[in-house]
Symmetry: D2
Subunit: 353 residues, 4 copies
Amino acid sequence: MPGNSIGRVFTITTFGESHGRVVGCVIDGCPPGIILNEEDLSEDLDRRKPGQSNISTQRNEEDVPEIISGVFQGKTTGQPITIIIKNRDSDSSSYEAIKEIFRPGHADYTYFKKYGIRDYRGGGRSSGRETAARVAAGAVAKKILKDIKITAYTKQIGKIKAEKTDYEEIENNNVRCPDRDAAEKMQEYVEKLKKDGDSAGGIIECVIQNAPAGLGEPVFDKLDADISKAVMSIGATKAIEFGKGFEAAELKGSVNNDEMYIEDEKVRFKSNNAGGILGGISTGQDIVFRVAVKPTPSIKKEQLTITKEKKEVAVNIEGRHDPCICPRIVPVIEAMAAVVLADHLLKQKAQCS
Amino acid sequence: MPGNSIGRVFTITTFGESHGRVVGCVIDGCPPGIILNEEDLSEDLDRRKPGQSNISTQRNEEDVPEIISGVFQGKTTGQPITIIIKNRDSDSSSYEAIKEIFRPGHADYTYFKKYGIRDYRGGGRSSGRETAARVAAGAVAKKILKDIKITAYTKQIGKIKAEKTDYEEIENNNVRCPDRDAAEKMQEYVEKLKKDGDSAGGIIECVIQNAPAGLGEPVFDKLDADISKAVMSIGATKAIEFGKGFEAAELKGSVNNDEMYIEDEKVRFKSNNAGGILGGISTGQDIVFRVAVKPTPSIKKEQLTITKEKKEVAVNIEGRHDPCICPRIVPVIEAMAAVVLADHLLKQKAQCS
Amino acid sequence: MPGNSIGRVFTITTFGESHGRVVGCVIDGCPPGIILNEEDLSEDLDRRKPGQSNISTQRNEEDVPEIISGVFQGKTTGQPITIIIKNRDSDSSSYEAIKEIFRPGHADYTYFKKYGIRDYRGGGRSSGRETAARVAAGAVAKKILKDIKITAYTKQIGKIKAEKTDYEEIENNNVRCPDRDAAEKMQEYVEKLKKDGDSAGGIIECVIQNAPAGLGEPVFDKLDADISKAVMSIGATKAIEFGKGFEAAELKGSVNNDEMYIEDEKVRFKSNNAGGILGGISTGQDIVFRVAVKPTPSIKKEQLTITKEKKEVAVNIEGRHDPCICPRIVPVIEAMAAVVLADHLLKQKAQCS
Amino acid sequence: MPGNSIGRVFTITTFGESHGRVVGCVIDGCPPGIILNEEDLSEDLDRRKPGQSNISTQRNEEDVPEIISGVFQGKTTGQPITIIIKNRDSDSSSYEAIKEIFRPGHADYTYFKKYGIRDYRGGGRSSGRETAARVAAGAVAKKILKDIKITAYTKQIGKIKAEKTDYEEIENNNVRCPDRDAAEKMQEYVEKLKKDGDSAGGIIECVIQNAPAGLGEPVFDKLDADISKAVMSIGATKAIEFGKGFEAAELKGSVNNDEMYIEDEKVRFKSNNAGGILGGISTGQDIVFRVAVKPTPSIKKEQLTITKEKKEVAVNIEGRHDPCICPRIVPVIEAMAAVVLADHLLKQKAQCS
């Protein structure tokens, strides 16, 4: 069954494998007349690419997007926009060793059970490399969002939490943390794990500013439901919460409810425990959600696992792997949020007379 | 834009308002030849219905499902199955008082911003009453699942956590908690809040047993992504996590990875930190997820809010409301999980030759 | 697999069987704030209902639509609109005789092969009765179309063709033909066949006036492609053509092309051989298509056929059947055209900034 | 709004413009394990390519398909299959002359009205070149169809009709007509028109053999409805009819019904007036439909038209154009039929237990 498309009005379809010829996407439903070129895509792709620091994989790879359809004379035409990113530095030889092995924590076993195929080259389609296509699509989505601003950052790595949220700081450190002191500790922690051949997980927070009230399509295509699906479809994500999230479970209604008042004739809320969404529809406040990212499953430490032939075997995963994918997943989460927001913005237009 | 359908092969569409004539659903894509009658739906509907105990709303309402299409001589025909549940005890008069008011924590304001309409009668479509239709659809989905067993229960209310998981206990107490001692404390806690005119949130855990490996459609319609959407589309849910969930953020890869081994020629995992899903596809282990439920927003305590005319006003929400919806949301979460699983089971069939 | 929904932004789902409790539909995606009540639906339903004249079936049945969701205080709310029409005069006893028999020209055999079920009561879901739900949905769609006017009529029955197109005449005769003289001959012809226990086919023409240029979504959801699907999904339709249609095959390009010119600063076409659609997008001219309707398969004349047990048998179909369904299919074709146009009108809005 | 995907289980999305870098498609939902390589695609692409004879355009272009995702070690993986065909001989200079002009009979005007964009280079996305992507996708679909055989051919050009149907003859003449004598007359007729700077239309017939009974998803996704949409989405098609089609309008029920009998314990029909589909579901007989193809709108004869600036102007379309596209549309119609059949075959599997 097809599962590689998301979005109903602004629809993206991704394709391509980690060690195939390309990864890419088709964007269908993008309005015509929007200025778009390859440079628009590169900024976010550069934030996702490997080799940005010593705590991300050293696969030295420039992600060069090529727009091969849907743009004419520098503008979108309303036709499907196809973007491809060629795979360059994709040496599959290091994967020969694990050809017959299902790596723990990876999708090797489940893909084999589902499709009867073992594309051992770098995880094939389940690789993080597929997210380059998402980031490219997200960059196009952002063009539609105009004033709506999406900012994600590393909130926590291991047990180290950001205590401050200084947006200016985010791109100044290797872990994309908005708190410089925490960032330093996070970096040290990850480097230590890397030396041990181990890896770290973390939490990403994402804030969407300036989204108008009224986005979301109850009762199933609610804005938070659609963001949840989009974000939980990214590899390595294990949880999502909006506003107070799990903490809301411990609160009383009198504390959790966001009271409303009027200021300068505008509707205001005394708090934002809801995370900007009520009944699946945006309130006009900031939309705030957090995502749990599991530690990278590829580790050099020895682990027990099995082969295709159901033999037990010990494995150490060699090769270049991020000891923590938090910094690189940040632009992917932003991209998926952008795709969902663009989709809902256009949906809401269809309703207006 | 339409947003009231979910599922691609097993598709449900819900309709109806809290204080309208009916709530109901159309199920399209149910295979023919399945034995189905109204009693099959009643068991779960009774677990969701109001008035089950002194900590759920006293709206005294028998939910009587009527199958008005798609079944002939006691069996599904492959045609759309329509189920309606008439609204009986729907006295809208208590809502007259809040006709012009946006209740804090409710979807009143956002529905008004989106649709320009204020259906003040019991929350209209955003009411929990809509979930009766989901539960009916879920009961049909369960017929397709056969051996796959879905069990949800209250894991936590306020700060009180279940320490044991005794499935036999779940339906023996008013809060649907699998730990009798915790259940008693939860019940006391909720009753106390009820007396104060306040309300409680909680956490529901759901376990899916016997799901085969191979369900899920990467890269967007992953099994966890689809469950996340389905569950987060239920009103009052604010977070979802699979397996270790947010805790995985604090773990090292060497701890979080589930090692694999062979026992009796079968594939086994040493742990289930992944919650039964890897790369968006089921592993064959139990699928485990937890959901945060916010405290009921309808409280008798005075809160500040605004009117349609942008006037500030203090409001006490009168009427019959659950001081904690955890016990009643349990069958709704099971239903949404069942709908997603049925959809993916049928999807997987389409692939096989 | 689900197949009972059509439309992407304005989506209708029909349900119900000929001799079940109801036929009905859910309309999802209808914009809020539109005035709508049951009388709005009755006009077209009355044009479709049986028993209108001696050449339509004498099943004496008032089709009374009930809107059971999605309308509040006389206006649509943006929520799913559910309409049910109860089946009253549905005596299944006359179908007992054909319980084991596959009627020639009917879907009895194919439904049995597909679903393994024989709902013998009046054709079950393949009955023309299902179209009552389409007509109700079409009446809602027409509310969105505003100035766009859809008019269908009987162009031909047997070999008798309308030579004139007088819109005023259409509803003045029993066959809904816009040419009074032809109408009389058609009526005579059908009555004669009825006496013989036989039936007649015909051609319906449909004209859509005032559709703006720009509707249609290449390359697959073209306006003519979507109309074709919608119309060809009506039982008994066997062909559709736009503009010159099959005749275009015989023309030269220099004759078939519609030349353009300017009149009063407006774009004009010298002809409308294209039927108002070029490249799958409306030109702003009248959209014109014709549909072939096969003769009613239920005839009293003896025919050879087989039983479920693969026995050969001769059958005479007794009961009340239209000797020609042309007059009653006219509002159904209008309804499907209206549903497609409403869908595309709303789609086009989603694109505009 | 997106409109570039078709099929629900076997889904194809096409992209690319006539004079852009590529045309191509993504196929999502193809089962894994199917042997597939570029040569599998070339046979049909060669039948569609320009320059096959003196009555097709002389654009000298080898269509070389490249599979850039979804195939590993010569087999499909269950992941999206992306195929691109680079545009080579795409000299846009001849289009400079018509940059400001809307060509009669083309989609120039409607695309401009819809998108506000004038991609004058060879018709952009509305060009017949887009159908190369459809043919590639159809070749993949055919792999799923196995024994189901789809054969299309030119039944009529201008007023010259094939009187015989000799499948062996089809690929032996330039017009793909199964009647050698008619083929010669057709060729002469088209050559004469070409000399005059004019063009011819025609009728294509398509026969699908060995399709099992039971394909089609009532009440909207009926097999004939879906084929109609797929075929009518091809540029230049203006009509479609199944079985007797428009002729059925003139028949009596007693003549049109296909009587059933038993032969060698198998279900047989005395005729196939229905064209192999009853109630939207295949009967197991041959599925037969015919398609009207309009004469090529690009003609050298002078025509009146208008410019973007609403000025009237006379235009002669220079360049290389097929005087009759019938021979080249044959594989496109086969491809669309194959895509629909593959989709419905996989759909039917999802239902079976």
